[in-house]
Amino acid sequence: MILEIKIAMLVLVIVCAVASITIKDLLGAAVVFGTYSFMMCLLWVSMAAVDVAFTEATIGAGISTVLMIAAVFRTTRRTKD
């Protein structure tokens, strides 16, 4: 894997992580967390861990985002920080 692409993906992962904990809207935070999981999945593919990447793509970017959005809809979207 080309080093520059790897560094770009790492930077994107960090940006997504920071964004998902700073967004002041829980729905947006949940969606950005899904993006973070998908970026993580790409990083794992670059390390030849295809099974882990497959699991992360189905669970991290799929199911856990759905569960979080369900929880946001059933509780509240407002957050102070």
Binding site: K6, I7, L10, V13, I14, A17, V18, S20, I21, L26, A29, A30, F33, Y36, S37, M40, L43, W44, M47, A48, A49, V50, D51, V52, T55, E56, I59, G60, I63, S64, L67, M68, A70, A71, V72, R74, T75, T76, T79, K80, D81
Partner: protein
């Protein structure tokens, strides 16, 4: 100085993983919203998984499935399957525990009407 830079170039991904891990830890400590704490927990978990899987990566190695052209005489041709197995199960367990955390958050919201930690503490003190 040049050696330090070479050292950093070899290990830069570890610093990135520690940065992600610390972002998650900060969210778990400092954010007052319980759902944000759950997101922080997820970030922390995935950082640790990333760290584990990166230890199993090998330069120029393929995915851990037998390539008939290569055979298995040289283990260096395949990535280390052991960290991948351990982290694969950890991901599935992490979503199950996330479900339990969300269930608890819903119960807290029903009882207190809020999922902000400081407001819940105020209500508990007021009672």
């Amino acid at each position: 100085m040049h050696e330090l830079f070479a050292e950093f170039g070899n290990k830069f991904h570890y610093y990135a993983y520690f940065a992600i891990m610390m972002i998650g830890l900060y969210a778990m400590i400092a954010k007052t919203n319980l759902l944000k704490k759950c997101i922080g927990l997820g970030i922390f978990q995935t950082a640790i998984m990333l760290f584990y899987v990166s230890i199993g990566a090998k330069e120029g190695a393929g995915i851990p499935i037998i390539d008939p052209a290569l055979g298995t005489a040289d283990p260096a041709a395949y990535a280390n399957p052991l960290p991948q197995v351990l982290m694969l199960t950890a991901i599935v367990v992490s979503v199950a525990t996330l479900g339990v955390a969300l269930a608890l958050i819903q119960n807290i919201h029903r009882d207190h009407g809020t999922i902000e930690e400081d407001e819940i503490l105020q209500r508990l003190r007021g009672k």
